[in-house]
Amino acid sequence: MVTQQPVAIVGMGVILPGAGSLAAYWDNLVSGVDAITEIPDRRRDSEFHGHAGVGGPDSTHGHRGGFVADTVDFDPIAFGIPPTDIGGMEPDQITALAAAVAAVDDAGGFDRLGDRAKVGVILGRGGYLSPGLVRFDQRVRGVRQITRTVRELVPSAGTETLSRLRSALLEPLGEFSAQSAIGLVPNLAASRVANRLDLLGPAYTVDAACASSLLAIDHAVNELTLRRCDVVLAGGVHHCHDDTLWSLFTQIGALSPSQQIRPLATSADGLLVGEGTAVIVLKRLDDARKADDRVYAVIRGCGTSSDGRGGSLLSPSTAGQALALRRAWAAAGIDPAAAGAIGLLEAHGTATKAGDTAELATIADVFGPPNGRRGVVGSVKSMIGHTLPTAGVAGLVKVALALHHRVLPPTLHCADPHPTLAATRFRTIGVAEDWDDDTPRRAAVNAFGFGGVNAHVVLDQGDTARRRPTRVSEPERVLRIAARSADELRRLLDQPAESAPVGDGPFRIGIVGPTEEKLAVARKVAAKVAREGTAWHGAKDIWCTADPLLHAPGARTAFLFPGLEGDTAPRYGDVARHFGLRNPAWSNASVLDRADSATGVGLLLDAALRRIGVTADALAGHSVGEWTAMQAAGMYSPAPTTELLLRYWPGGFALPDCEYLVLGCAVTTAEDMAAGLDIAISHDNAPHQSIVCGHADDMARLAENCRDRHVLVRRLAFRSGFHTPFVVPRLAPFERLVGELDLRPATIPVWSATTVGPYPTDPGEVRALYLAHLRQRVRFRELVETMYTAGFRVFVQAGAGQLGSFVGDTLGDACHLVVGAVSDVRTGLDQLRRVATALWVEGARPKFEALEPRRVRLDTSSTLMSVPDDARQLLEPAREDLPAGVSADVVAEFTALLDETRRSAAGVVAALSVQTVHQDLRVSLPDLPFLRDHRFFRQRDGWPDESDYRPVVPATTLVELACRRVEAAWPGVRAVAVRGAEFTRWLVADPASTVEVSMTRRGNDVEVTIGPFARLVVEVGRDFPPAGQVPTSSRPERTPPLSAAEIYSERQMFHGPAYQGLSALLGIGAGHIRGELVVPAAPGALLDNVGQLLGCWMMATFDDRLLAFPRSIDRITWYEREPGPGTKVDCVAEISTPLPELIVMTASLARDGRLIARIDGWQDIRFACDRREHRAYAFPDRHYLSTVDEDGMTSVVDNWVSPAAREFYAGVYLSGIERARWEKCPPRERRGWLLRRIAIKDAVRVRIADMGVTGVYPAEILVADDEVSVSGLHGRVLPRLAVRTAQAGEVAVAQACWNDERPQESRLRSQLATAVRRNR
């Protein structure tokens, strides 16, 4: 006889009641979770379940059991099973595959299985009426049975009705395919696992009723002992809560009348049915040790037997059971009755009288009487029910985990142990206990089947050294919050919800894996973003903004594909598996390998990004990455590299032996240093990085030059001569290759870093560019700048390495987002989760759900057939509203007509309730002339360029326009309130534009969107709501410092006559202001004046952040029609400043002592602007933004922080001509460019003031691009002046000299140094 080899359990996976994973199962076992529940509603049939007493077989008293969840954590696509095939399969094939994959993962992954030719799959499975078969039988036999019965009962039904009945019965069963039929063959539970995991050992199911899975493990041990297999996946499946099975147990009296399963208890009265799957990975212990596997437990011996004639089919034989036990212990070579032989016994424990009594007798017999310290006996059936074929392995997994964790798990409902227990050497426990060293770390499992088939397994503890906790890796949660205001964002962040994005609005934050620590940082981030108006990108896995990049009109997204990068090891395998995409290899071995790797991973990420709803408006690449971009855009699909090499490089692939040096300097410096050397600049990567290429000796000299100039230099790990003339002699094969490329039009624009523009469409030109790209410089920095100017704001790096940092270096603090789609440090899906979060924050709509682990629905129910609603009255007698004697055809037609009418009517009603109207709004000064009185900036009288004044549509005028348009679109309705108004962007009136206004009505709400500028909800009604009391209060107040007239003359408010309504400022307090106004003529001017009143309070209360603009209004309620121009209105505004950058107002408007309107939650955002800056803004002809020293030297500091504030000061200082240049300026140079112009213009104005020329507006001075000469604009005459300027970071200085003066360069530099120091 062959001795059984010790076999190691190295991995386990379970899907059991209450436990979708191994970790959950162990948690339940230790904490004693009773996973028995009521039968789920979906499976319950009140005509069958829960009937008192025992009736016929067509009902049962049973209504409780162990049920697995409706879904399983398993991705069928990753294993090549189309989701459409799942419906037709037996559910146990999905659970078997899912549990097998989980077990293999638990064992360390597929790579640890070794030779797949020697991996087998053996699963216990019963031949019961399984759900797949039941559904198939309904199709095959059930439909025929019902139609036959109906024909017998209702002979008048006729062929057509019966045919309709047949269709109605079949319809809910879904499509049928031959593929589904094959999915019903019982052995597929095992063989589909072998098929999908490509295992070549034997794969089969065994049926030994409730002993099946231990029999399967016995087979597995034999396969391993005989060395026919090196690994076996063994276990059991049972997903079959079929009515026949419940009925069978009811009929034989085995189903618990009390509906509680109490194994080994005196009060045990029967079993409850469970379901589940468990699979374990088995290896010979020697092999497991060699492979350094974690060993949960070691199977020492298996024993099997039958009762023979000893028992009846229903009552077990103690002798037969004892035989199996003794055989197992003999195989293990241990005496079961010896002291210290066993610490834990997992009993079969069906909780039936006969079963438990026989089993305890067997136990007493085999293990002997009490002998020292008692071991523990129990049964997991008390928690999950009797899982029949799976029962043995469910118990074995429990025992293996118990040995591994050294914890003795409890058995439920056994407060009154069976009397026979006293005669055994075991005790039961109700709560978990430590498995201390005094209790032997050996265990055994029983499983006894109907008809007297018995199995027993003896296990030892595994290798203690390799003990490690089991752990589930849950996907990281992403917390997303959108809010209409910084305040709301902070509020929501203080109470983060568990799921789905919260709220709506431009203030957004996304946190990946939000721990308490990250949330604390996130609160500080949100405050900073609100305060400074800048975005936060990625540090601490947080992204946050107050103004999403992609909400701007014309803002676009690009994917950037890296070229050959340094030695990275990106993690993307999980991405390929998750999306069922090809998993490309990664190798840094040679230039060709690097190129193949970069392209393969780039294309994978491109496809994955699209799957998660992240799409690009254009693609670009760096070096080889440009080819990836072309392929991603479908311009060509290359043959495999090996084929290309054979075809075009039959003599071997060779490249010039040129080195590359990466220099930490701009391309101009690199050119300087390379002067006179045979060196080419191959890459202009970024302002701080260039790459040069050449032969070794020239490169050595260049490296010297670098050291002299303190330039960082580093040698690349590979050689070639691409992107330089050095490669030209080697281009012939490439020319043949590109000549034969099958080029197709790009499906998405690809930008070239050779031409710094989109690829041509003509194939000839594409071929030429392909070759030019090989020998010409990669102008990546210029490409990024040009793309930025073209509106690209979001750059997703589709590959490994540092490409994104080039973008960041090039764009500086110009608003943009760079995010990498793959990383070396975290899994691919985790990194994509970050991409999705970053893009969501910036206004995109990624599909986060596509990143979630796929769950597959499991339908293990076998419910009765049912017909769809429209067939429910098929056999009802004809309708009474038809005269008698009408033929069935006419009745049918009439009924059909009625149905059709009902359906159409419902459609019309539904359509009426939602209506959308699109209109154009023409925004220009001729169309809206009153906007001449709502201009931000002042210019010289008669200034010809209207855009330099920046006329904009006030927020309140947008509200007014929306209300009037709604009233015109739905005649007869009246706008009675506005809520949720958000103003996202200024709507400028010059240059003129046409804006789309869309209005969607749902009941009494009309959602109005005015282009990307504003959105609000207008509430309509026939009558105004009743007005409340005019609020009164007697808070302390003082007289406002300025009168209403002075507010305008001092230009504290910039408004012209059509918007000037403040007539008296009555009083001002710490949190309020009262005033009187006369309604001006311009539309929306009344509410604008309320905003002006808020401005007056702010100007009187603060010394900084004096610029404020409306951002949102929670609600405006009208109690009567808006009063016409000339009406006197009293206004009281209550004001708070919850944050320094935010002002919130509640205001009431009254006329002759009655309330006419109320405004709630009006929010203004404040921008950096102190008194001095405000003076320069209000009177730019008289004041400077710069400070001026005694020599007339100016210095200006940009403390404006937010781009919006900076843009404002640009508006004060720049003319239209200069604004156009500013727009073209590379983004990271913009701040300095503007600062220098401000300093120069102020210096010029200072200098000419000496001559008595004053009252010059900054826009009148045009600074030449050389920043040396200046000229007058639109008729302004300037003397001949030379200017000098210098700038560092946020500080610029300037001086204007007469042409004959000697410029004081050193003074200028020291002035700059002083100014910089002062500012720090």
């Binding site: 604390a520 940082v521 500080k524 981030v525 900073k528 936060w536 990625g538 540090a539 601490k540 340094g566 030695d567 930490g664 300097c665 990567n685 970024a686 701080h688 990085q689 490296a703 670098c706 050291r707 303190h710 330039v711 960082l712 230099v713 580093r714 790990a717 540092q802 940092s805 080039f806 960041g808 270096d809 970071g1289």
Partner: protein
């Protein structure tokens, strides 16, 4: 505390301050820069940021504090794993060489 330790300590403070424009929000992130703080892993800086930082260091201390030269002697892995302590040691050494 030895004089040398004093110097390094002071350098650490200065280097931390000089890093602020690159890293930005140390206070928000609650990062205390120590000798053990890693350039790439902790501060999220890339090698191109080292170029910028080299410029900042030279501007502050003078051209002989030449981080570029220091880094040129290191291979890429060492650069990636650079810690603030490496930089402060280098700066302190250069300052000491001035006598």
């Amino acid at each position: 505390m030895s004089i040398e330790a004093c110097v390094t300590d002071d350098v650490l403070g200065t280097v931390s301050e000089l890093l602020a424009p690159l890293v930005g929000d140390l206070d928000v992130l609650d990062i205390q820069i120590t000798r053990d703080t890693a350039f790439h892993e902790d501060l999220g800086l890339e090698s191109i940021d080292l170029v910028t930082f080299a410029g900042i260091l030279a501007e502050h201390y003078g051209p002989d504090v030449d981080l570029a030269e220091f880094l040129s002697q290191k291979d890429l892995d060492e650069v990636i794993e650079l810690r603030i302590g490496d930089i402060t040691d280098f700066v302190a050494k250069r300052l000491a060489e001035r006598g």
